[in-house]
Point group: C2
Chain length 390, copies 2
């Protein structure tokens, strides 16, 4: 049995970034860049007006004849003589022999003629070619997270495809003779199986969509066979249930007989003690407790960081926040506790029922309070660590 | 021109929750419940062992013959006599005339006979029928956010469909003669259009997927016609560009001529001053500035809260966090500022280039610093408000 922090270190050391893959920029939200990006163009690609106004060649004149209009999108390279100007709009091409734009607020216009009331400085309101980004310049470093802004930026540079770290394919293996698929009639002695859909949507929330669910009876040979296929076809195998010490818990045995290397089994925590973590070649395996709330706690605390590491994230853990706890609390278990909780801007409240067999409390929680195993007496108003779900 | 907080209030007052709709629980992640949910079953649905051990009828005996095995999923209603017990596993049905389960750690077993070393209390390790949830009990209140845990919980109760608030359909209308679709050759005077894909993925990140993009030239009639259709077919219309004061900015005129009610136009802020917000029947309209960084700032600060309100969220704004600013900063603009920034656990740094025309800074920012218009002198180490993107 190991402590929480050791378990996290072992996971960190045993998960590797997924291979790089080329994808369309428009599909890259939430991925991590597997290459550095250099701009293929200058931005702006031409001298551009940054204002609505009039473009002219700076000199002594304050009075100009208007010889045409340059709207954004036009490429009208007017020959502008001294005493001539061009009506110009934000984003429009500035003719080659104009060097300055005067804002429209600072002129008086009368029938094809303008008079400047407030003279700009030379070069004012003209964005130079490549002023913001030069062709060939490093624009996004490897390991950058692709956000909506990054996608907009890449598209504005005309980039269509980028290399990112691929997302893992995940197998969910549900064990348990007592489980019935939701929607069917519930025979005596059975309960509805909910872990597979719960884990699937939790994965979906992290952006992992290639998820396949397998169901297996509590039987060594059947479990071993299903796991064998999963270990060869998936990057992550999440097993739900069958990992305690009961006679009918075949999962660990089935994993070991498939040559999965055990990296840890059992963590000094509640809920979620009987967590198994192992590896076979590049596939990692988590065998999660069957109790739904234990399974989901282990997912947030251990599986999610593993996925983030594989996706290429640098910050792989649930962000931690500190909040004042709203009541006294004693942890006499000697175990680390993850308590279903509700936090707001100031405080955090431990929710009433902490049973690991049911999700009723988890369903209304917005985070987990993490109490280290050696923190016994928690007094009201003490700052505690909260792992927010969102 | 109005202040930031007034703009937010006006948005809050003018967006309404979307209509309720029935969907499958498995597809309901991120929605808000439009009904209260009552449990259709007892949980557990039968008396259930919470341990691996032996079920017996509490009395004076410590020594029992084992007459059978009840595995999870079985429904074996053994007739257990005095001095008899049944081998039982976690989650398994407890036979009607057993009332107690002794943990397997606390017995000695020899050839079909067990001897209890440490006697449990009567009723120990037996979960009563309906102990966690009673049939008919309120289990999730209206307005609850559907999380992975909530989905697991609903499925465990055998619930397949729920009523939620629907998601809005969004039209993105991109204006600008200068814009070329990414991937095409870039003619002189043109730039790549990136706002539509940026807004589309930003919407996608909020879970809004019914998004359609329209492109229109800078022309009053064309703009008016496209907007007319969008106003009748979508819940939200996001217009990009064409909202400044230039001669070629037709958007506001086109909106008003389509009988859109102007709720505000222009906010005392930088970037994103020329934001227009209006409404026609149940469709709301944001006309965003064309500059990508301005458009995205307005999206995060104003459009996102509007969407959350429509989805039924109670907390509709970007969560705010406080961080110590890493440098002095003077805001002499008289405007509220939204500065592209990078924050960590302790401090926040204003990023170098704050140009609103380019997304290079936005692409590496993880939040915006919000400085109210009347906060002029910001000293290093002062706590400022940060709006984190994630």
């Amino acid at each position: 049995m190991i402590q929480v922090n050791d378990a996290i270190s072992i996971i960190k050391d045993n998960c590797f970034k997924m291979a790089a893959k080329k994808i369309r920029v428009s599909k890259s939200l939430g991925y991590i860049l597997a290459e550095s990006i250099f701009s293929p163009i200058n931005m702006p690609p031409f001298r551009q007006s940054s204002m609505d106004g009039y473009a002219f060649s700076y000199g002594e004149s304050r009075r100009f004849d208007i010889i045409g209009t340059s709207q954004a999108g036009d490429f009208l390279n007017f020959e502008i003589k001294k005493n001539q100007a061009v009506r110009i709009f934000t984003g429009a091409f500035v003719p080659d022999n104009a060097d300055t734009v005067v804002m429209q607020e600072n002129i008086t216009a009368t029938e094809g003629v303008i008079e400047i009331n407030k003279m700009p400085l030379r070069f004012d309101n003209v964005r130079k070619k490549g002023e913001q980004v030069k062709k060939g310049e490093l624009v996004l470093k490897e390991n950058t997270l692709i956000t909506p802004a990054a996608i907009g930026f890449l598209v504005s540079l005309g980039i269509k495809e980028i290399m990112i770290h691929d997302k893992p394919k995940v197998a969910i293996v549900v064990t348990g003779n007592e489980l019935v698929k939701a929607g069917k009639k519930l025979p005596k002695g059975k309960i509805y199986e909910s872990n597979s859909i719960m884990l699937k949507v939790a994965l979906q929330q992290t952006g992992v969509k290639k998820v396949k669910t397998f169901r297996v009876k509590d039987n060594f040979e059947a479990t071993k066979t299903v796991l064998k296929d999963c270990l060869s076809d998936f990057d992550i195998v999440l097993v739900s249930g069958g990992i305690s010490v009961g006679d009918f818990d075949f999962v660990k045995e089935s994993l070991l007989s498939n040559n999965v290397e055990e990296l840890f089994y059992k963590i000094n925590q509640k809920p979620g003690k009987p967590l198994f973590f192992g590896k076979k070649e590049n596939t990692i395996v988590f065998a999660l407790p069957g109790n739904p709330a234990s399974a989901l706690t282990c997912f947030y605390v251990y599986v999610l960081p593993a996925i983030k590491k594989m996706l290429g994230y640098e910050a792989i853990h649930l962000p931690k926040i500190n909040r004042k706890i709203s009541t006294d609390f004693t942890n006499s278990t000697g175990k680390a506790l993850f308590l279903k909780a509700f936090y707001d801007d100031e405080k955090v409240t431990v929710l009433d029922s902490q049973s690991s067999a049911m999700l009723n409390t988890f369903a209304v929680a917005n985070g987990l309070i993490y109490l280290p195993y050696d923190l016994v007496n928690i007094k009201q108003e003490m700052e505690v660590t909260v792992l927010p779900f969102n």
